[in-house]
């Protein structure tokens, strides 16, 4: 089985790219692959505590926490989060925070790297 890393960039609301990323992650986990998710740019908001679900907007938090439970490593870009005013204590349990060089280092060992979204 392979190691799939996804760099995820879209915002929580406004496109379905984020939904696609999590669906793809679930499908890969289902097939037995190891999945790593790097949340960067606007996508770092996925890792913020206190999100409320509205029927008008996509809500992927439950899906992301489900992936974490199944062993998916989810990491948010620290600088992107700090620039948006949320800090370590605001981060959902189970989500790591790292700098961009950590993500670059991850690319050495992963079998496939995919980038999804961005505005």
């Amino acid at each position: 089985m392979g190691d799939l890393t996804m760099g995820i960039f879209p915002s929580l609301v406004g496109s379905m790219s984020l939904d696609f990323a999590f669906k793809l992650g679930e499908a890969a986990v289902e097939k037995g692959h190891k999945v790593n998710l790097w949340l960067s740019g606007n996508a770092v908001m996925m890792a913020k505590k206190g999100q409320k679900a509205f029927k008008d907007y996509s809500h992927n938090q439950k899906r992301m926490l489900g992936l974490i439970e199944k062993g998916t490593e989810v990491t948010a870009c620290e600088a992107c989060a700090e620039a948006r005013g949320y800090h370590k204590e605001d981060t959902l349990e189970g989500v790591k925070r790292h700098s961009m060089d950590w993500y670059l280092a991850k690319t050495v060992k992963t079998d496939r790297l995919l980038h999804i979204g961005g505005e």
Partner: protein
């Protein structure tokens, strides 16, 4: 011991969204990635500007004066300073009426030894085929 060749392909114009900036900051982060890697492992980045993304490499950007932020030009020059190849697609420059003298060609004032490379799309595609990972921004 492993190394990963990374090709960052930037297709969006500057200052309209965060992606081109993220491409450069991620690529520059390769300089310090070794602290998270096993001994002997390495990442080797190239940044290629294609499509409207070539506008990122236009020289004379006034981002600090206009927006109060560091310019994409400064990020490109920093990339050259750390010997990270910067490629700009010639066909897309031509499409937008850009000539090499309008583009960031070097960062000599910072002490950079390498220069921007103006390449054909065929060269970029060839690199896409042989790189370990493609990172579209």
């Amino acid at each position: 011991m492993a190394e990963a060749k990374l090709l960052f392909v930037v297709q969006r114009p500057p200052y309209k969204n965060e992606n081109p900036r993220l491409a450069l900051t991620h690529a520059i982060a390769s300089q310090t990635a070794e602290i998270y890697m096993d001994d002997g492992d390495a990442v080797i980045p190239i940044v290629a500007f294609v499509g409207d993304g070539v506008l990122n490499a236009v020289k004379g950007q006034k981002a600090m004066e206009t927006y109060g932020v560091t310019s994409t030009e400064m990020h490109i020059k920093t990339s050259l300073l750390i010997d990270m190849p910067i490629w700009v697609c010639k066909e897309d420059m031509e499409r937008l009426g850009l000539t090499e003298d309008m583009m960031i060609q070097d960062a000599e004032e910072l002490g950079a030894e390498i220069k921007t490379t103006f390449v054909s799309y065929a060269d970029i595609q060839k690199e896409m085929e042989q790189t370990n990972h493609l990172l579209f921004f």
